[in-house]
């Protein structure tokens, strides 16, 4: 195996591992959605406010997953390690 091949293979594995970061936002968004649903059940009149608050919280919770996504995209398509050869 050439050095370049080794770097490419390990980068692909690393990109896959980086996407494990998707677990956290998934759990967090699920919790936010569940609490939002129970809040709407308790107070259906405030549906609009609950909805916008929930979406804002979910979007903020998503950030850590997107950091993982950025790392994966960098490893796949803009690999900085190949330049080190």
């Amino acid at each position: 195996m050439t050095d370049r091949g080794l770097i490419l293979a390990c980068s692909a594995i690393g990109a896959g591992l980086a996407m494990i970061a998707g677990i956290g936002p998934g759990v967090g968004q699920g919790i936010a959605a569940g609490h939002g649903a129970s809040a709407v059940g308790r107070n259906p009149g405030a549906k609009g406010t609950i909805m916008s608050t929930m979406l804002l919280g979910q979007a903020v919770a998503e950030t850590t997953g997107l950091y993982g996504f950025a790392v994966a995209i960098i490893l796949l398509f803009a690999n900085p390690l190949i330049g080190r050869l």
Binding site: S52, L55, A59, L66, I74, F77, A78, P80, I82, L85
Partner: protein
Amino acid sequence: MGNGSCLLSSLLSSDVSGRLIQLSSDEGVTFGVDGFLPYSFFGGKVWLTTTHITMLIIMMALVVFALIANRVIKRADPEKAPGPFLNVIEYMVESIDNLTKTNMGEKHGGKFANYIGTIFCFILLANVAGLFGLRPPTADYGVTFGLALITFVLIHYNGFKYQKMAHITNLFKPVLLTPINIIGELATPLSMSLRLFGNVLSGTVMMGLIYGLIGKFAIIWPSVLHGYFDVFSGAIQTYVFAMLTMVFISNNFEEE
């Protein structure tokens, strides 16, 4: 792919050093920033990329809309009921005004309605550009980071305006937490821009993979995915960006 360059910052956005970013493979999967026209800028070679062209198209659409709206508003007859187009314009202006006033307070909200409305229209059109076969400009880190930098400047301009020197001394409030406070301030534009960029880029990558790898079978059903990745996700991220801008700016008003 594999051009061996290690300029991380330039690789995810339009390249300013003359090399083009190839976010594409040999299979015909294309979702990268393509350059069209090289030109020299202060001696360096830079490219006119898909991002610029899509942004120009969006700006033209917004300018034409604004000109038509201006004519319609000026010719509106106050005696008669407004027509459908005027109604839409009034609804847009009113909802932006309401949004800023509920989030930033009655006193300061009106001043920021212009900025919030502008970034709202621009980011919304930029995010749904994927529907029209264009590459969304917000899937270019340069664009989103620029937008977040404007917000960063606004946050601190208003911080100094309303809190004077307390804006700086607040950083050292619990003395032990000073580094964390400073990092937190600097991370604000980074996280805002990465959030928008990551969401739009993930949609672009998914649609590029679908059209590139199974293009023969992508007949009608990708419209559902367009509805999610472009329209739903784009609208949510627009709302979130505008909302976070308002929240961060209005944080500086209250502690006077």
